[in-house]
Symmetry: C2
Subunit: 219 residues, 2 copies
Amino acid sequence: MPADPADGPPHESIVDLVGALAYGELSAFAHLAADAELAPTLAGRRQMSAMASTEFGHHQQLVDRLVELGADPEQAMAPFVAALESYHDITSPSTWLESVVKAFVGDGMAADFYNEVAAFADPATSALIGSVLVDAGRAEFAVREVQAAIVADPAVAGRLALWARRLVGEAISQAQHVLADRDSLTMLLVQGTGDLAGIAALLTRITDRHGERMVALGL
Amino acid sequence: MPADPADGPPHESIVDLVGALAYGELSAFAHLAADAELAPTLAGRRQMSAMASTEFGHHQQLVDRLVELGADPEQAMAPFVAALESYHDITSPSTWLESVVKAFVGDGMAADFYNEVAAFADPATSALIGSVLVDAGRAEFAVREVQAAIVADPAVAGRLALWARRLVGEAISQAQHVLADRDSLTMLLVQGTGDLAGIAALLTRITDRHGERMVALGL
């Protein structure tokens, strides 16, 4: 457990990072499982349930990592419950397509952010986070569902584009709350990126990847 | 694929059995995931979410088996959707303890029934069903939660005993609907048990195991 900053980032910030992500995966599990009930077909329901189940597996791996780090998993997750539940409450999908866009665009942006921050963690934590944040076929699924819907009714595209913009706005708002509350995470980000130019470059990369997802969906 | 009864039970009855169980696991996944939100602690929520995720893995194995049997998984599951959703709608838990009892008593009784019928299927199907219906620590979890609640408030026991009786009644009612609808499953059961005495013995074994679970819970 590094006490000296020269050994790596402070232990507290790593526990915060893994704790936030572990709760994020548990929360994603619950919301994907609930959203699967919106599916118009058994195939769609199975696909979103499979995503939920995969997220739970990731949650378990992250909880195991918290234990390895000597942290109490529930204490480590607790500070992030409110922000993540607020995000999900405010962005509760009312249609199947909204849930598909959320699973791809919202979760995709969160994954990009965690991946960026994970680069500043110790190698074992960083490798684990990289492995739990793989996309796992979600892109093809979302693109297929959304493009088919737009072909059937082109007006869908405008509504879903607005929905995606709302998801991003709420995600950024909740991320700001978390960073304002957790100095250790802010320090990890600032020290990792080096300076404001580094933070700006990170945000540009995340925004670019978000734009690529929107283009892939035809939004 | 046996066409001659001498080779084993008719193919249609095996597809029905695996289809019913595959949908049952998908449905269990969805309802356990939803019920996890009733948990008063993050530990309880994690535990019920883990059960849900395990059920989804079983669902996937059964779907793979349907494909091996040359069946279309969605067509094979479709005849059982209504009965299983009726059961879950009628037995939607309103408290955490009700959801724990349902996960142990209701799902346990269903598992016993499937296990009994699986004995009459071909060896590969029978082995798969046996492997997906293992209890996986659910008993200890349920016993711990329910006994702690009874210690805190003995009046809980009577209410939960009534709830368990209702679960069993609804499960039997839905099973009767399914058997009345699906001749192939009824034939599998009748031919497997041999005669009415065989069916009576099967029902006695299921009832006995149910009684053991109730005793374990202190109900």
